[in-house]
Each structure stands twice: as structure tokens, then as C-alpha cells.
């Protein structure tokens, strides 16, 4: 299934899609794959796999901690692609979320080819905007991969138009001015941003940054096509570092709560 199809299916069901994020390699490569499969089984419609990076400027402490642990555990770019292959085999569209340097170092064309070969759907690029992405855009188009760029509350109409025109799959709307991390209340910046984005494109718009429970998911699902959850999943794994089985159970419960949320908007 493509990312576009997954969003379309949710739309036909009259609900938002649930997009779940976890970094590859945490607690280790095998454990990361197990956790991502739990997200799939418990109700995520689209999966984002984080590529752990040494200098993650857009991430708050939760995702930083897991990514750092994954790097200290020796996770490599090849392990991320291996994780993609295992998760994509479930049939759920699987994207990689990555800072730009690891892709550039791997080779942009080579990364696109290997990602496509692993069954990956595309890339979400938090520190790469379309005006600096000609090489990635060309490689993604050649391999029919999704290009998910971000829009922010501070984006001008002009930039929203430029960004959405370059996207394929969906558009990632960052709901808050700030880094990743679960927040107790949803942002009042998200609604207007989604409206401005939808005015510029027919692509589905996913909202991320800060969602941690079903009620928040329901709030966002009322106006967005997708609800993106990352730090809350990562936090669940970090909190159960001593007992993986319990961590996976908690992860399933949280996913089910969120999947319920996107269905009751």
C-alpha cells in the first residue's frame, strides 16, 4: 500500500490516519523492529522510522535519548534499511525520517535506490527544505518515493505553496514552534496552519509534535488528515527499558488509545 492510499483509506472511513514514529535500533535493531510491528498491529496506518543521528537539532530530550542509545549500541544506516524492510513487509507504508547528512554521506541516489529496494515509501526530512533539495527530489522521483517536507506556523504563504508543491505522499505540519516532545495540551497554532496548508494543496496534511494520548489525537483528527505521534511512543519504550515485554504491551495499549482517538473526531 502507498502512503497516499493509506490516507485515502482513512478518509473514506471518515477518520484521520494514525502515523507512528520510532527510531531504528532502539533498544537494539531486533527490539526496534518488534516495537514497530506492535505499532502496525495495534492500529498505525503509516510508519515513520527514525534514522538516529549525532546532532538532532529538531528533537527534544525523549527522542534524543533513544537515538543516542541506538548510536551507542552501534546502529548503522544499513540497520535502518534492514528495519524498513522488516516493517514494510507487513504491507503498511513505511517512511524514514532522517536528518540530511547521513543520506548525503550514503549517497543520495544510492539511498533512494536502497530504500525503494527495501520496500520503503519515502523520506521525511526535518532539516531539508525543497529549495535545497534538488538532488533528493530527482532521486525520489526516479524511484517513485514520497517526499515529505515540513511546514511550520512561521511559514509564509509563499513557502507553504512552494513546499506543498514539492511534497509527495503527505505534508507534515509542525503544530508547535519547538522541538519534538509530548505536551499536555495541543497547540492553537496547528488549526490555522492546517487550514493554510489545505488551501495550497490537495495532499493530505498530517500534524505532528506533541500528541501523547487519544483525546489529543481526537482533537487534531477533527481538522487534520493525519495525526503523527513520536515522542509518546519513544517515552513508553524508555520507561520500560528493563522489561521489553511490558514495554511492548504498553506500546500496544497507547497505540490502541490513539487509534481510538482518530476515530472519534
Amino acid at each position: 500500500m502507498t502512503t497516499a492510499t493509506a490516507f485515502e483509506k482513512a478518509r473514506v472511513d471518515g477518520r484521520a490516519a494514525l502515523v507512528g514514529y520510532l527510531p531504528a535500533g532502539y533498544p537494539d535493531v531486533r527490539g526496534g523492529i518488534d516495537a514497530l510491528k506492535v505499532l502496525v498491529d495495534a492500529g498505525c496506518d503509516v510508519i515513520e522510522i527514525g534514522l538516529p543521528y549525532s546532532d538532532p537539532v529538531m528533537d527534544g530530550p525523549t527522542i534524543q535519548a533513544a537515538a543516542q542509545a541506538a548510536l551507542e549500541g552501534g546502529v548503522r544506516t544499513a540497520d535502518v534499511l534492514r528495519t524498513v524492510e522488516a516493517v514494510a513487509a507487513t504491507g503498511t507504508p513505511t517512511l524514514v525520517m532522517t536528518y540530511w547528512n547521513p543520506v548525503e554521506k550514503y549517497g543520495v541516489e544510492r539511498f533512494a535506490a536502497d530504500l525503494a529496494g527495501a520496500g520503503g515509501a519515502g523520506l521525511i526530512t526535518p532539516d531539508l527544505t525543497p529549495d535545497f533539495a534538488p538532488e533528493w527530489i530527482a532521486a525520489a522521483d526516479a524511484h517513485e518515493l514520497d517526499k515529505v517536507f515540513l511546514v511550520a506556523p512561521s511559514s509564509t504563504e509563499e513557502r507553504i505553496a512552494m513546499t506543498t508543491a514539492a511534497c509527495r505522499g503527505f505534508v507534515y505540519a509542525t503544530a508547535v514552534m519547538g522541538v519534538t516532545g509530548a505536551r499536555t495540551s495541543t497547540s492553537d497554532l496547528a488549526g490555522p496552519l492546517v487550514a493554510r496548508t489545505k488551501a495550497a494543496t490537495d495532499l493530505p496534511v498530517g500534524v505532528g509534535l506533541g500528541v501523547s494520548n487519544g483525546d489529543q489525537a481526537a482533537e487534531i483528527a477533527a481538522y487534520a488528515d493525519g495525526v503523527i505521534v513520536g515522542s509518546a511512543f519513544v517515552r513508553t519504550l524508555l520507561d520500560h527499558a528493563d522489561d521489553r515485554a511490558a514495554g511492548l504491551r504498553a506500546l500496544a495499549a497507547l497505540t490502541e488509545d490513539l487509534a481510538g482517538g482518530v476515530r472519534r473526531a
Binding site: 529538531m58 530530550p61 548510536l71 547528512n101 554521506k105 550514503y106 527544505t129 512561521s154 513557502r159
Partner: protein, 422 residues
């Protein structure tokens, strides 16, 4: 003091911040979309300010009356005798707060006031840029938060105290390697959330556009002054100029005025640590490869997966795994030569300058002295005593006495009579 200066060079960035074009060039802006509007706003404000005679006048006045500029160009006679040609030192060590960095922070803080923002943030490694930022914030009445790796807050407790005394809040950063690069990451995270009222005083001529060009504009007075001073006094341009390069703000500040003087050889000296044949160094241009770090394409010390590798230098101010993109461009085009200087060579030069001229340089600047003296000996052999080498003495060594005590065993009665220069 910057009248009749050529504002542009053949090595400037284009509108997107590319040095040498988007394909093969360096720089650009690899940043989260959330910060693009702020970087655009900063770009417009900086360009307007640089074209506004009132801003330029205010900046010059503050530099002169508050920071003690222009700094003298000093003929180091005994050093000259030793190498056989004329050695000139641009005395940035005499500036307020002890280094060239005061130029950058006063420029950026003045711009912050002009933009109507009330708070500044900064990253710092050894603490010099943090102290300079805290100083500028105090001068202009701005709130100031400085991010500093927790490894560095312990190593540089005196500078933490200075920043506190100046009214700044110092936030220790524990993430990653808990050093300068992680302090930059944390400052960027702050900025994403605070950008409506906060300016990021970037400490070096690196990062996303417009910082490499903006920081250069505020530090280029070093070279503008030195070029005029040299011409006025000797009637000729130097044969060679030299500076140390970490991120590269003092170097680009010196180089800019000379970039289109084709007969002036330009040297940047990188921190070679234990040696560039070991993993413990920070010689980014010499040993790194193309990549993206902190918002710019440049040379980066990285592993085969593109993860940033921890750098090492005895000089905390040069201990950075990236380098300003204009330096990458100057290296790629061959306009400037970048060579490594080891910890040991730098420390020997520090001792030499102390003994021969009565000037204790910052260890950063000692890298420039060590490298430039080799160049001077070559030039003396080729051109004789009239050859001229101009070195940017970017900072003073007071902050480095702890390192010097440990390195030379100073204060140890067994060693106190030994000449560290040998």
C-alpha cells in the same frame, strides 16, 4: 575606520548563501522550516543595516569607544630577527574581553536592538564567545542565555563565573558529547521555540545562511584595518597573511580584505591535535569530507555513516568538527591554503611568543603563530628580509594558563628553571 573599504569580493555567497554555487559549492541553508522565516528576517535586517550609514557609524563608534579598536598592528622585532623577515601581529588580543570575538557580538547585538528583539542566546565552547555575548547583552540591556557543554562548564569554571557576573544565564548541556557542537544543537532548539523575541548570536562564521556572511561582515574589520595599517606604514601589502581556523571567524575577518589581492598568500592553520595521522585532531578541511553540519554544507569530521565524529584540540576554541563554508570554498578554489598545526607545535609557539615579545597569546592564536613562522622562514629564504608576514593574534592567553601550567609543568620546582622553548 572602515571607510573606502571594498564591500564585496570575488568569493562572496549568492542569494541562497552558496559559496561557489549550489552544485559543487558550500554553505546554503539546511535547516528546519520553522526557522526559515527567522533566517529570512535576519538576512533582510542585516543587509539593510550594512547599507545604512547610521548603523555602520554606530557600530564603528561602539568598536572604537567601548571595545578599544582599531587594534594595533605590531612589528614583532625579535621574532622577525629570528626568522629573517618582517613579522607583523594584528593585536586583537588587546580588545575588550580579550579577543576578536567582541566585534562579532557587538555587531549582532546592535542588529538585535535594531530588529526590536529583547533576548539573545549563544553557544560557547571554551566560554570566550559566551563571555563576549554576555558582555554585549549587558552593554545593550538584553536578556542573555548561553548554552555550554557540561564538559566545558567544568573545564572553564572561570568563564562561567564571568558570564554569571555579567548577568547571563549559563545552561549546561549534557546531550551528545556535551561539548561545543551539542551546545549549538541546544541553542538551535531554544531558538525554534523562542524565535519571535530572541536572536541567536552565532559565535563563528559557520551555520546556515546568512550567518557565515553576517559574521564575516562584523569581523572583517580585522583585515580592513590591518591592510590599511600595513600599507600606511610600509607602503606594501604583506606577502602572506595567517590565522587559526576552528569555525573560522577570526580567519575570515582577516582574509576578506585580502581575497582579491592576488599577490597576498593566505594561510589558515587548523588544529592538528595529536597529529592528523591520529584520530585526535580537529583539522576539518585537511582531514574531513563534504557534508552538512549545523545548517551548512562544508567539510565535516564524520564517520562513514555521516555521524559527526568528536574532534580534539588542546585549544577549546578550535575544537569543532565543522568549519565555516566560505573557508571550505577558499580551500576548494585554492585561494587559501589550510594546514594542520599540532598541539605541541602550538604550545611551543605560545612559549616562544611569550619569551621573545612579552605577549602570551591564546592557544588558538598560537596555532597561527606556529604555522606562520614556517611560512616566514620560507619567505625569508626566497625574498630576503623585506618579506612580510602578517599574523592575526586573535586573542590573549590569560584563559589558557591552566592548560599552560599543566602542559609545561609550570610552578613545578623541578621544572621551573627549564626553558619551555628548548
Amino acid at each position: 575606520m572602515t571607510t573606502e573599504v571594498q564591500r564585496t569580493t570575488s568569493y562572496d555567497a549568492d542569494e541562497q548563501g552558496w559559496f561557489g554555487g549550489a552544485g559543487e559549492g558550500f554553505g546554503g541553508r539546511f535547516m528546519p522550516e520553522a526557522l526559515i522565516a527567522a533566517l529570512d528576517e535576519l538576512t533582510v535586517a542585516w543587509q539593510d543595516a550594512m547599507a545604512d550609514p547610521a548603523f555602520v557609524h554606530d557600530f564603528d563608534t561602539i568598536l572604537r569607544e567601548y571595545a578599544g579598536l582599531p587594534s594595533p598592528l605590531f612589528h614583532a622585532q625579535r621574532l622577525s630577527d629570528r626568522v629573517g623577515c618582517r613579522v607583523l601581529l594584528k593585536r586583537e588580543d588587546l580588545n575588550h574581553t580579550g579577543a576578536h570575538k567582541i566585534r562579532n557580538v557587538l555587531g549582532q547585538a546592535l542588529l538585535t536592538k535594531r530588529m526590536g528583539k529583547t533576548r539573545v542566546i549563544a553557544e560557547t565552547g571554551a566560554g570566550q564567545h559566551g563571555v563576549a555575548s554576555a558582555t554585549a547583552a549587558a552593554y545593550f540591556g538584553l536578556d542573555c542565555t548561553v548554552y555550554m557543554g557540561s564538559v566545558d562548564t567544568r573545564r572553564q569554571a572561570l568563564n562561567v563565573a564571568r558570564m554569571n557576573l555579567l548577568g547571563a544565564k549559563v545552561v549546561p548541556v549534557d546531550s551528545g558529547s556535551a561539548t561545543l557542537k551539542d551546545a549549538i544543537n541546544e541553542a538551535m532548539r531554544d531558538w525554534v521555540a523562542s524565535v519571535d523575541h530572541t536572536a541567536y548570536l552565532f559565535g563563528t562564521a559557520a551555520g546556515p545562511h546568512p550567518f557565515p556572511s553576517l559574521v564575516r561582515d562584523f569581523t572583517r574589520g580585522i583585515g580592513d584595518e590591518a591592510r590599511a595599517q600595513c600599507l600606511e606604514r610600509y607602503g606594501v601589502l604583506p606577502d602572506a597573511i595567517a590565522a587559526c581556523v576552528g569555525g573560522g571567524s577570526n580567519a575570515i575577518g582577516l582574509f576578506t580584505a585580502f581575497l582579491d589581492d592576488a599577490d597576498v598568500a593566505i594561510y589558515g592553520f587548523e588544529p592538528g591535535g595529536d597529529g592528523v595521522d591520529t584520530p585526535r585532531h580537529a583539522a576539518t578541511i585537511w582531514a574531513g569530507d563534504r557534508g552538512v553540519l549545523h545548517g551548512a554544507r562544508t567539510y565535516v569530521l564524520q564517520d562513514e555513516d555521516g555521524q559527526t565524529v568528536e574532534s580534539h584540540s588542546i585549544s577549546a576554541g578550535l575544537d569543532y568538527p565543522g568549519v565555516g563554508p566560505q573557508h571550505a570554498h577558499l580551500a576548494a578554489t585554492g585561494r587559501a591554503s589550510y594546514l594542520p598545526v599540532t598541539d605541541d607545535e602550538a604550545m611551543q609557539a605560545l612559549a616562544l611568543l611569550s619569551r621573545t615579545e612579552g605577549i602570551i597569546p591564546a592557544i588558538e592564536s598560537a596555532h597561527a603563530v606556529a604555522g606562520a613562522l614556517k611560512v616566514a622562514e620560507q619567505l625569508a629564504a626566497e625574498k630576503g628580509p623585506e618579506a612580510t608576514v602578517l599574523i592575526n593574534l586573535s586573542g590573549r592567553g590569560d584563559k589558557d594558563m591552566g592548560t599552560a601550567i599543566e602542559y609545561f609543568g609550570l610552578g613545578d620546582p623541578e621544572k621551573v628553571t627549564e626553558d619551555p622553548v628548548g
